[in-house]
Amino acid sequence: MNHETGLPWRNLNEEVDVVIVGAGATGPVVAQELGRAGLSVVLFEAGPYWEVSRDFVSDELHMRKTAWRFHRLTAGSDAPELGHNISGSGVGGGTNHFTAVVPRFFPSDFRTKTIDGVGEDWPITYEDLAPYYEQLEKEIPVSGPKHYPWGGFHGPYPYPAREPVAATHQVLRIGCEKLGIQSSVAPLAILSAPFQGRPPCINRGFCAQGCLPNSKFSTLIHHIPRALDAGVELRHGSMVHRILVNKDDRVEGVAFLFQGKEYRQRAKAVVVCASAIETPRLLLLSADGRHPQGLANRSGMVGKCFMVHSGHEVVARFSEEILPYKGTPILTTTQDFYESPGDGSRARGFSIHAHGSRPLAFMKIVTKATGAWGRHLREMARDYNYFARLTIVGEVLPQMNNTITLSDEKDEVGLPSPVVTFSYGDNDRKVIEAAVAMCKQVLEAAGGRVELISPDTSHMLGGCRMGSNPTDSVVDGWGRCHDHKNLFLADTSVFVTSGASNPTLTAMALAWRTADYIVQEFRAGNL
């Protein structure tokens, strides 16, 4: 027990081996691996330590509490909507309310510059990540088809596909079949059969509100207990606001705020897993006399090339009931349009997912697409059960002017708020246009009438990209900062390009790989 705080902080006055910042999708993976290797680890999380049976409720409005709520600003011609739709807070981070679609990136995602002449090549290849993808898919475990038609991995997945699929997902299948497009049940971190005391999914559709029966994977229920078993110390409610660095550019630990008071934790190495907004922000917040532009920022690339996925929603009305609230939100997908088409009309592409809707999600699309209110709004709402929705995951290319910067305004704990500036580029818009047109075709082929098209975004990526050249990237292919030997980044901020797949499995695979490397470096006496 720590006397100052009344919390059981074990290691506050010692230098530990590793501090990890952020217990979202990636931090707990790193924590588990380092803990198992016998390193002393403190894992920091700004938000609360959720307890599923106490804190999770089957209600859209109530469960917005799992979002990051500290004040942020957005700018740019396509300023993204953040909130619940984008980032998580509390132990488990985004995995508490993600929809658990976990395809791998395609091999070509790591080589877009070479293959398509756009974006940038990653310093690593698909093959570097493949063993980590495989381990994760087994460990979580992932359910998916026997044969997956696309990318570098064709199955079979460790757990059987989630069949049957709900009507809202059958729509995508039917439409694709008519058009001669391949479709598949999506790979999901959701159980189709029992696993270690967790029951299979009961199709109640609340994945984005936190799964009550624990059928859906989250790091909260999976990696965290394993990390704690391995001796990792978890400090929730603690916001790291500065990384401490000495004269030799070695990182010495972190400063953090707990209930308004500042504390310090010394460490031999620091791993930041705080998300594509908070990781660059923390590096910028850590500016000092010797690093006026922030840590790890000699290249000026901290906060640059921030990306989101375009996530337009296309909704069609059917004459029969669809009951869009039944079934896991996303169950079927097509990745037939993932890469550059032969006709040169655009570079790179998109995925299309069938997406169930609870009322708030649906009504948000209605108001955004139509501006409807009054009688018109109620008429649309009354037909809620007759609508089916497709969502795109469109690749967005990295651009220098899409950034995370610090504002003059302060957030609730007194730190400068981040400003998220984002605008689509020409190619991004071409991808969106093609994706929306394809969604329309699929819905119409399935017998629907398209009535609503609403712009949206999902998934934040980049901002501290990896690369082999220290002048145009922040970390190397292992996640190690070019400027600081013992500072690592291991989350979605290191993405070089966005791909057109939901990114979390890739982020976790990268994190695991970085963890393995850190263990090696400790064993070699380099840290």
């Binding site: 709520r69 500290f70 600003l73 059958q170 029966p213 004459s319 029969e320 709402a381 504002s407 017998g447």
Partner: protein
Amino acid sequence: MKEQDRWDENTYHVIQSRLKAPGMPTFFSPQELALLKAALHRLLDEEDQAIIARVAGQIDEHLTEKRGQGYRKVGVPKEEVLFRSGLAWLDATALQRYEQSFLQLTPQEKDEILGQVQRGEIAWTEIGPKDFFNKLLNTAVDFFFSQPEIWSEIGYGGPAYPRGYYRIEYGLKDPWEARLKPELVEERAKAGMGPGPVRRVDR
């Protein structure tokens, strides 16, 4: 709602507390609250005063607790400012136009002003009319469509835990779910509410 005995305890409590009649407002003044309710009445096309009062009360609570959305666009004021000065401007616009408070206007007059606010056809200072309108509408929609009566009205199955759903494919329903009459489906198709029956190619 009739399924509420089947909800888990925490969900049951959250939904029950949403049904409670609101207490005194803490963020809004009584005059502001009256204006908010008048606007909600038109925006949501809802005649039931009790529901409107609950939605208004829950918006008041939301603003009191500064729960926020976690973000806002550069140049757009905080939501507390948007609500407070937006309601004041709404009333000021009514007084200027009709020499009457917004509260006294006919439904048509209210709708006319609200439409102009939505389209940004009115000059306000400090806040943009469109920013106010979007914030008001989105917040209203969130709280209104979280009311259990409205779930029943639109045919949303509501929280389904611990029971879940098993029969999820086209045309299938679990035994406890409400049925639709085939005549009704036919009628909808005729009325142009959908392009005709869907063919089930994959079963």
